[in-house]
Subunit: 284 residues, 2 copies
């Protein structure tokens, strides 16, 4: 009987070792393991000790991310917000938009579209702020703020829908108004009020739909803050410093939502230019 | 010794049953299981018999999808291409764009943005063709054509990047040219050639970058056809019937890529208006 127990125990250990292939199903190596160990390891039944070990290694390591960007750039701030929400370390590399550095050969060799931000993660180079954000939110899914729901297809589908609503319904009019009312005055140009007056009703129509949605939901995709909300922040931040802020303030639920998302510490840090320049700077 | 073997066998069976929690980690129920059983079940070591059982049930079931759309609409065709690539059943519900049905109260109650397509999956309603496409490609990840790579964060990141490049770099100029050169002549209007001449160089710049990429890669995100390529199809299909086709044909690698993606049977079916109207039609 003693040998039976031994054999059963041996079989159990072998099965645990076989069935436990941590992260390999996603092609992830140990360096990608989330750092919020308590939260993460409580959710994995098997081999909690091993989980903590990986987690702690990850928490104390340099993530090795390099971010090419400019601290005043709306698209750079979108990625900064994700990095700060996730508590991830990174090296900022300044691409000075004022001197048109993003269109010079040195930078075009990095991103032929001549656009910032660019994230470098070892041998991976990513453009497009929303793609970079999704990548970071997915790789570090269990770290700090949960920016995407990876446990339900339906919730994920709803989040993706609101992310694309931002891209195709909100961003086009909001970007035009940001350009005319915020950026042009910053660089000493006058807004084109014909364009402003044509664009305002387009944004209002979108915000009317947001108002209805936000009457019944704390945030756009669900009652939790997600990437879908975060994607709106850069344009909203600029527009709140212009007369267009009334479009947001006149709608009570939109107003409440704007106050909630702009007050997040990670977002405040993303807008803090000193935080960017205070970091170690690399040439390139 | 006989009882030892029995005990070990029992323990192994128990471990397999415990460790095998099919799909529950993603919040998916059996109805979401992919239908291409051979392909899928060959990749899962455990409980292949059970896998085939689920698969066959799924293959013979009505997926219950309803698609509000219009067979000439570029955005509807994007989702149709995914449905056909995945071999999924759906009920088409025609929203006649010619009579402006998408802006009438009956449809605005379904999508307040007044846009098609809309996918209904039981209690889930999704707008935005790219979000619907991602949802279907994720839920049916192992069925027929693999449109997204879910096994590697890095590959997923690269695919997401190319999807956003389509959204933010390719689609804006391509949509304008589609509107001016394809849609306007279809409804008896003349193109605005000032707009055309301003937009062409923007698309050419994007296609120059695509040309470089496609010299070294069969498709945009990798050597496999993915959603990133599929997203381009609706605009490309329209533009290939206009003088703007030269912009694609003048670039050998882009030309090869366009030929490959437009020749896909799923895409040909997505453009076949008879295939839409040949299906059972629902009122709404």
């Amino acid at each position: 009987m003693g040998s039976s127990i031994l054999l059963v125990s041996f079989a159990l250990v072998v099965m645990i070792l076989i069935s436990y292939e941590p992260y390999s199903w996603m092609g992830v190596n140990a360096s990608d393991v989330p750092t919020s160990c308590d939260h993460y390891c409580n959710q994995t039944f098997e081999s909690r000790h091993q989980c903590y070990k990986w987690c702690e290694e990850s928490a104390h390591k340099d993530h090795g991310y390099k971010l090419y960007g400019y601290p005043y750039s709306a698209n750079t701030r979108r990625v900064l917000a994700v990095l700060y929400e996730k508590g991830l370390s990174f090296d900022p590399i300044t691409v000075d938009l004022r001197s048109g550095e993003q269109k010079k050969p040195r930078f075009l060799a990095i991103n032929p579209f001549g656009l910032i931000p660019v994230l470098v993660d070892r041998d991976l180079k990513l453009f497009e702020s929303r793609a970079i954000s999704q990548y970071l939110a997915t790789v570090h899914r269990s770290t700090c703020t949960q920016l995407l729901n990876h446990k339900s297809y339906k919730k994920m589908g709803t989040e993706t829908m609101w992310m694309y609503i931002e891209s195709f319904e909100f961003d086009p009019p909001a970007s035009i108004l940001t350009q005319e009312l915020a950026i042009k005055p910053l660089v000493g140009q006058k807004p084109d009020y014909k364009v402003v007056n044509e664009t305002k009703p387009l944004l209002e129509k979108v915000l009317d739909i947001y108002e209805e949605r936000l009457k019944n939901s704390s945030f756009l995709a669900s009652n939790n803050f997600t990437l879908a909300d975060l994607f709106h922040l850069p344009n909203i931040q600029y527009l709140m410093g212009t007369p267009a802020k009334r479009l947001f303030e006149n709608r009570p639920s939109v107003h409440r939502w704007v106050a909630a998302i702009t007050a997040r510490p990670a977002w405040k840090k993303a807008c803090d230019v000193k935080a960017w320049y205070g970091k170690k700077m690399n040439g390139y």
